[in-house]
Each structure stands twice: as structure tokens, then as C-alpha cells.
Amino acid sequence: MMSFVSYLVNGISLGSIYALIALGYTMVYGIAKMLNFAHGDIIMVGGFTVFTAMSTAWCPVWLSVVIGIVVCTVLGVVIEKVAYKPLRSAPPLAVLITAIGVSYLLQNLALLIFGSAAQNFTSIVAGMPPFLTVLDGQAPLFFATAPSGSKAILTISMETFLSIVVSLVIMIALTLFINKTKAGKAMLAVAEDKGAAQLMGINVNGTISLTFAIGSALAAAASVLMCSSYPQISPYTGSMPGIKAFVAAVFGGIGSIPGAMIGGVLLGVIEQLSKAYISSQLSDAIVFLVLIIVLVVRPTGILGKKINEKV
């Protein structure tokens, strides 16, 4: 029972990270109607930035994280301006291939600078006690290290706890931002109809830049949480989580923000539970299988809108 709770909590934690990345995918898709294949590699860049900053002696953890977020935000906007903006009216496949090119570019840059071997990432909450420890037959301990020699039946690490809390806060803030602020509503409007939004006096280019900025900042946050929970980093760190977050976005209904959150969390839980109870080697295959089944039953994902072509 306790092990199930542990797997579930770990799943929700991993899923929250997926959700953060998926939000970037889904927002960019909604507004620019493109699959930003390079989004996963932004995570990698964020991870390496924080890694480099933290390994210099004078830089405290909080500043490293801030630097990571700033670098990713700027990178996201620059990529959009340089590579995607000129192709805004080009066929979707051309944009997709460009995004793949950007992804190759970021990976190979990282390869040149940091080499292909995975490096150990120091968790940003290293040295802190676990969030929760349950010892057999005793009251649960919060934020405390279990006495040596005792056997814990459930431990939830600080990293796991942090991932869930941070993701939750970011998601609430993002929802409020989109629904309550002028800039957020402008994003919704541009996603709905670019031409009409422009006629209403909305700065379409600015709004698209803002979307890429937010998406990249979320990716940076996700990278810190992910590299803290799974403390390694390499030039390929971002690609599989990126693909999975893309799956999560499609799973929830691409273009839908609550869909990305639900899709991300569900995906994380499915992955952790199948790792625990079915097979750790097949967990990725199971995730994709569930995706295929969901899409066959609901062709536009869980919360996606059905769009009929007008004849």
C-alpha cells in the first residue's frame, strides 16, 4: 500500500514536470500552429546553464535558477525571431523541419561545449531532509531526517515535493495570467484568429514573442526540477522529456492549457506505475500505447475541441 502511494506521488511529481513542458508546447501550438520540436532542447539548455552557474563558487542556488530562466526566455524569443518568424506563412512541414534543425543545432552546440558524457547535477535542495518520512508504527515526520537505524516505509523526497508545489504554483499563476490580464487575453485572441486579433489592435508579433518567452521560461523551471529529481545532465537530456511532454500535450488535447496540465500529470502517473508494476524497460512503450488508445477513442485528445471542416 505504502509503496503504491510512493509510486503515485513520484508519478504526480514527474507528471507535474511534464505538464510544465507540455504547457510550452501547447501554448506555442495554439498561437503559432507549429510543433516546436526544439522545445525539449530548451530544457537541456536550461539545465546546463543552471549547472554551469552553480558550479562557479560565487553563484548562489537562487541566482543560478534565475540566470537559467533568463537565458532560456531570451533563447526562446531569439529562436522565434530568427528561425520561425520568417516562415510564418510557409507550409507546416517547412516549419517543422526548421524546428528539427534548431533542435539539432542546440544539441550539437551542447555536445561541443560539454561533451557527450552525462554529468552529475547537484540538486538545488541538496542536503535538505526529505519532505515526509513514515516510519513503521510511528507518526509521520515532516522535514526531518529519520533517526539512523530506523526503517522508513514511505519517503517522499524534498525534490518530489518541490516539483509538485512549484508546478502547482506556476500553473495557477499562468491560468490567472491568461484569463485575467490584458496580455493573457491577447494570447487567447491571437490563438483564435490572428487576422481578427490584429484588426482589434492587438500586437500579434509581440504576443507571439511573449508566448515563446513564457513557454521557454516554463521549460527552464521544468529543467531545474527535473535535473534535481534525476540528477544528471547531458546534451540529450531534453529530447525524451520533450517528446513525452509533446505526447502529454496531444493527450490532453493540443492547444488546450488545462488539457496540457491533465495530460502531463496523467502521463507521469502512468509512466511511474507501469515502471513499478509492469516493466521498467517497457514503461515508455506503455505510455505511447495509452496515447494511441486515447487518440483512437477520442481523436482530439481528452479536452481537445472537435473541428469540423466547413464544406
Partner: protein, 358 residues
């Protein structure tokens, strides 16, 4: 002679000519052993690119799981050859059977995945095919087959233990993969490639190919003239899968050790890049793009780690130069043609006349 036929003949000539010239250069030793070693993979990648072009260029559906079908062919063909290594001789007969069986297996997978997912469109189909490729890769990574005097032993996700060690032969061992007999040679690759190329040309330049292109251009109008959209999407998808399977068989019999890791989505994407840069729907473009793009990074090996970086930058710049409206206008003003189109215009007929495939 019809224009389409003439174009097809030129494409066949270019393809065959390339392999004959470089084959001879390789045999006479003019071409270094490193470059000679590229000819077989180039042939295999051309088969993959032209088969993917059927799905993406002719049928108009984005598939990111082509490596999955190649993986099915590679494994099924490889397993067949290892099992029958002592019973079926000569080796060329065994290889032909392996090609047929591998292609059929990939076709069956294409059918099984195609029936449920082909009602999805666009990005949804793309992600599902990507998922399919990853599933196939994961399954191949977890299959264990071995032989001993008692026959075949099969296991999933765990290595085989109850086996007579003295007479044991591994067929495939999970993540360690398999060692299929080295039955692929350049002549076989070129023969298979030419058969696939001609078959795709005749497929596209026929009633069936027209139906697929009609669906690509406007599926509602295609339905309105009585074309069965589901049927033709499935046919094209299955044919494309089968040919990818055949390429997989050639591949598994051309390398000393086959591992499933090779067949990840990056491979699917690499093939897609060949197809898109060669020109959607243009078989000749796929052939030329594959030769150039596959050979370039290998030729510039001395650039070391920078070559993939340059490759990425070239890819981005080519897409922007070819597709961005501002660059298209600029090109028109100075009367230049796009870099890729420049290469293409030597071989490919003018844009404003149409026809099936080249």
C-alpha cells in the same frame, strides 16, 4: 513518349548511374574504403526515403514512425535468416525469402496500425506514428530468442535460462541485439532499390496513385468523386511500410551487430528531412537529397564535431531561403533561384507543368 514516363526513366538513370559509377570507382580502389562503405547505407536510406515520400509527399500525411517499420523488417528478416542459416542454402535464396518475409511483416504492422489511426489527421497522426515507432523499438529491445538442440526458446523482458548451453545459439538477445548473416551486398541493394523505385513510380503513375494525390490535395472533393479515402490511405500507408521493412532487412544483413536503439525517432526524422529537402512527392528529389545529405557529413568527417553543427545550420538556412516569403520576393527581384531548386532544376522538370512522380 509520355512526359511522366520520360521523367521516370531519367530518375532511374540517375539512380542507377550513380551506383554504377561509384561502384566501379570503389572496385578499382579509386574511392577510399571509407567512402566505398557508404554506398550500401546510401542505397538503403534511398529506399527508406522514397517509401516515406509515398506517405508524406503523395498521400500528404506526416509520419514520424518510419523507423518503426524498418525495425520490424530488420528484426523479422534477421531472425528468419539466423534460424534458417543451416537449413536454407544457398544464402541468396535465404536472403530473398528474408526480404519477402520482412517486407510482409512490416506490411502487416502497417495494416494493424493503419486501420485504427488513419482516421486521425495532421499532427495527431504524426504523434501516433512517432509513438508506434517507439513501441516497436521498446518491444524489439526486450525480445530474447535462442536456439538449442531442443528447438527455439522465446522469452520477453528477461534473458533465457532454461537452455542447453552446449548447443545454444543466440538469435536475438534483448538490448544486445542480433548478429544476422552478412548477406547484403551492393549489387543486391541496387537491385532491390531499383525494383522499389520502379514499383513506386508505376504505383504513383496509375489510378491508385492519382486517388492518393487527390486525397492529399482535397479529401472532401476526392470523396465527392467517389474515391474511397480510407481504402487508398491504407493502401499507400501499407505499401510505404512494406518497402521500409524491405530496407530494414537489407540493413540488418549489412551490419555486424543490430541493436534496436538505432530505430528511434531521430532516424525517422532524419529520413523525413531527406524527403522534405528533396521535395515532397518527387522521387528524384528524395534520391538526390539522400545521396548528398547522407554523404556530406561523412565526407567532412575531418571537421569532427563541427560537422553536425554545420548540418543543422545548413538545414535551417535552406528551409528559410526556400520558404520564407521575404526571401522568395528577394530572389524574384534579383532573378536567382533557391539553392535547392537550383540543384533540382538540373534534374527536375519545371514547376508549372504537372504530372505524377518523377
Amino acid at each position: 513518349m509520355r512526359k511522366a514516363t520520360k521523367n521516370n526513366l531519367v530518375t532511374c538513370g540517375i539512380t542507377l548511374g550513380f551506383f554504377v559509377i561509384f561502384g566501379i570507382l570503389s572496385m578499382t580502389g579509386v574511392l577510399g574504403s571509407q567512402l566505398s562503405g557508404l554506398l550500401i547505407p546510401i542505397g538503403i536510406y534511398i529506399i527508406l526515403a522514397i517509401s516515406l515520400n509515398l506517405t508524406v509527399g503523395v498521400l500528404g500525411e506526416l509520419s514520424l514512425g518510419h523507423a518503426g517499420f524498418m525495425c520490424v523488417g530488420a528484426y523479422v528478416g534477421g531472425i528468419f535468416s539466423i534460424i534458417t542459416q543451416d537449413t536454407i542454402n544457398p544464402s541468396w535464396l535465404r536472403m530473398i525469402l528474408a526480404l519477402v518475409i520482412g517486407g510482409l511483416a512490416a506490411a502487416i504492422f502497417g495494416l494493424l496500425i493503419g486501420i485504427p489511426v488513419l482516421r486521425l489527421r495532421g499532427d495527431y497522426l504524426a504523434i501516433v506514428t512517432l509513438g508506434f515507432g517507439e513501441i516497436v523499438k521498446a518491444i524489439a529491445n526486450n525480445i530474447y530468442i535462442a536456439m538449442d538442440k531442443n528447438g527455439l526458446h522465446f522469452s520477453f523482458a528477461a534473458s533465457i535460462t532454461d537452455i542447453d548451453a552446449a548447443t545454444k545459439t543466440d538469435v536475438t538477445a534483448g538490448p544486445l541485439g542480433m548478429k544476422a548473416p552478412q548477406d547484403t551486398n551492393l549489387i543486391l541493394v541496387v537491385v532491390v532499390l531499383m525494383i522499389c523505385l520502379v514499383a513506386l513510380m508505376t504505383f504513383i503513375d496509375s489510378r491508385t496513385g492519382r486517388a492518393c494525390m487527390a486525397i492529399r490535395d482535397n479529401y472532401i472533393a476526392a470523396q465527392s468523386v467517389g474515391i474511397n479515402v480510407t481504402k487508398y490511405r491504407l493502401i499507400a500507408f501499407v505499401v510505404s511500410a512494406a518497402i521500409a521493412g524491405v530496407a530494414g532487412v537489407l540493413y540488418s544483413h549489412s551490419i555486424t551487430s543490430l541493436v534496436s536503439k538505432k530505430f528511434d525517432y531521430n532516424l525517422s526524422i532524419l529520413i523525413l528531412v531527406f524527403v522534405v529537402l528533396g521535395g515532397l512527392g518527387s522521387l528524384r528529389g528524395s534520391v538526390i537529397a539522400t545521396i548528398i545529405l547522407y554523404a556530406l557529413p561523412e565526407i567532412f568527417r575531418e571537421l569532427g564535431d563541427y560537422r553536425m553543427l554545420i548540418y543543422a545550420i545548413v538545414l535551417i538556412l535552406m528551409m528559410i531561403f526556400n520558404n520564407a516569403p521575404s526571401f522568395i520576393m528577394l530572389r524574384e527581384r534579383i532573378g536567382a533561384s533557391a539553392p535547392v531548386q537550383k540543384i533540382k532544376s538540373i534534374f527536375v522538370r519545371k514547376k508549372n507543368t504537372a504530372g505524377g512522380a518523377e
